[in-house]
Symmetry: C2
Subunit: 372 residues, 2 copies
């Protein structure tokens, strides 16, 4: 085997292993699809079931392949889409067959052809509506498919009602198998993912902000050392002057977000985040008055603009963090998060972890919390 | 009928009419799907064809419903995906059936079940790879489906080869009908859409920039009149000072982009865009030296930051417009756009349309163009 092909295969296998390690539920989902599919195959193998359903059993196989989705909600959604579309289209198809029957054996193909043409064209056009496409695209596809099948095959099949009934029941069985397997074996709930994702994103944002101040101002200092000869030394001084409040704002916001993330993860009331937010607001006030004191006199405007932008963005970040804290507090009260006395870490512990001295703001915060 | 339902229906009809007016090709596409579907229904109605294919004819119906896509390329892609997946899975399914046959009628279901389970699980897992999902998701679905069908129904069907061959040929016929209808009747080429879209986006961007300068500085002036009492009057003066070069930069960039858009639409060499770019570069130089002259002394930094940001963004816009012009020039030479002498408007006409005086830069531009 040439080395290039070997490398490609090795890369492919590595990406598979990484996918599995990244989220082991993917492996479980794959096995679940296999199990559901093997299960509906029994309709072919087991003689009494085959006597009942015959070749219609393949509709169960098809349904399982198409309906199986990663999360329980998506599987239910696709199953309902498929079930409703099949029922509706099947009923319409039988109706079309009966209407066409009135035109005799010679006229029937033309009438059925006209119905199929009209329904396919209209439904295809409806699929262009963005809102419909997002929610019912799959159902509309199945609708066209089933209507065409039932009405067209009705031309050859005299027992059209019997065929339609068998089809609908195997599809229902296939969809039920999917939903049962999806819920019974290691179910994946999209809501759980969302909960975890919110906590994770808050934590990521918090980590970023906690490190950003140090990183940005340090980075700027080392850069400006290199460029000292080409730059005027005043921007440097502007940066140095706003370094202290800027770093503090960013760090305190980051810590507040991380506290909230921990609280959401554990579903308990966030406690120390308000302390951090008060600290960051105090720093923001300091920065604001510093910027008004005219520290940038005589500096090239274009050179000082990036620093000024960072400063004004940090002030915005403080405001946004406060809004997030309000939203988290609302969530905590609506979802009835545990209070700290229920076994969560004590506020002292959290405050110590965050390296924040308990100041007068904390007592304010406590007062406010008891007001609410 | 209650008024609310009436309103809903009216809203739905209006959205349909709007969709059709927005892009009439959507109506044509819907009619095309109807035509293709009616066409493959003939396999059921026409006795000699039905004698050949029997109930397998429904695979053609199914293929048409699923493969029909808006553009020729997407239809081809789905058709190939379906064709390849069906062929491969069909062959594998027949192989699995033969292997399972060796285990006797009692052992066969278990062997087939094991094969189906393994293949479904592995293929489902492969569908998680992002690159594979983007290109072959549909093909892999069909692959699982066909393999399950062929291997499982092989247990009941002794003439499995005959069945498989009929199925493959009807699927091929269905896919061919889709592709032929897609190409023969008012084809939609994605490449054409892209061409049109690039020109349209350049034009939009150009229109925006052409108006932006006037809008922004005028808007600021009227705002500051209202706020005159609360604001220091120096930011106002900074804005007034950069108004002239700022407006010119933005206007000239916008005109250059609009020239390029016209050129791309007509597939002829852009000619006057370089004149506009040179004019905007000259204005940018003026702005740069103006900003260095210390016009913002004694102003609150946070108040002057938005204006400074706009100024520095406008300078970036000039640089970006030049890069776009280079890219368009490369496209024009690679795609062999018409020269102006081939009937496109003369450079003088374009220059007059853009209201740009012919200056020394234009002769530079001509020299540069002949160097390339």
């Amino acid at each position: 085997m040439p080395a290039a092909v070997k490398n490609k295969i090795a890369g492919f296998m590595n990406s598979l292993i990484e996918l599995a390690r990244d989220d082991p539920r993917r492996v479980i989902h794959s096995l679940k699809v296999g199990i559901a599919l093997s299960f509906v195959s029994v309709f072919y193998y087991y003689q009494p079931l085959y006597d009942d359903f015959g070749v219609s059993a393949m509709w169960a196989v098809m349904t399982v392949v198409v309906v199986s989705e990663f999360s329980v909600g998506a599987t239910l959604g696709k199953g309902l889409n498929r079930g409703m579309a099949t029922l509706l289209a099947g009923a319409l198809g039988i109706g079309a067959h009966h209407v066409a029957n009135q035109f005799g054996h010679a006229g029937e193909p033309f009438v059925i052809g006209f119905f199929v043409f009209m329904l396919a064209a209209v439904t295809t056009f409806v699929r262009f509506i963005p809102g419909v496409k997002a929610r019912y695209d799959y159902g509309l596809l199945i609708f066209i498919l089933t209507f065409s099948f039932v009405s067209v095959s009705g031309y050859r099949d005299d027992e059209i009602l019997d065929v339609a009934q068998k089809r609908v029941s195997t599809i229902m069985i296939g969809a039920s198998v999917c939903v049962i397997v999806s819920i019974a074996l290691f179910p994946v709930w999209a809501g759980e993912d969302l909960h975890y994702l919110i906590a994770l994103n808050l934590e990521k944002l918090g980590n970023f902000l906690e490190g950003f101040g140090d990183e940005y101002f340090q980075d700027q200092e080392s850069k400006t050392e290199d460029l000292a000869s080409t730059l005027q030394d005043t921007p440097v001084s502007v940066r140095a002057k706003i370094k202290e409040p800027g770093t503090k704002m960013s760090r305190e916001c980051g810590r507040a977000l991380k506290e909230m993330s921990t609280a959401i993860k554990a579903m308990c009331q966030p406690c120390a985040s308000d302390v951090h937010i008060e600290a960051s607001k105090a720093a923001a006030k300091g920065l604001n008055s510093l910027l008004k004191s005219g520290i940038w006199e005589g500096i090239d405007l274009l050179q000082v603009t990036p620093v000024a932008t960072v400063a004004s963005l940090l002030i915005d970040v403080v405001n946004c963090t406060e809004k997030i804290a309000d939203a988290v507090a609302e969530l905590a009260s609506k979802a009835e998060f545990k209070r700290l006395s229920d076994g969560a870490p004590s506020p002292e512990k959290l405050v110590r972890r965050g390296h924040v001295a308990i100041t007068v703001e904390e007592s304010n915060m406590n007062n406010r919390a008891s007001d609410e």
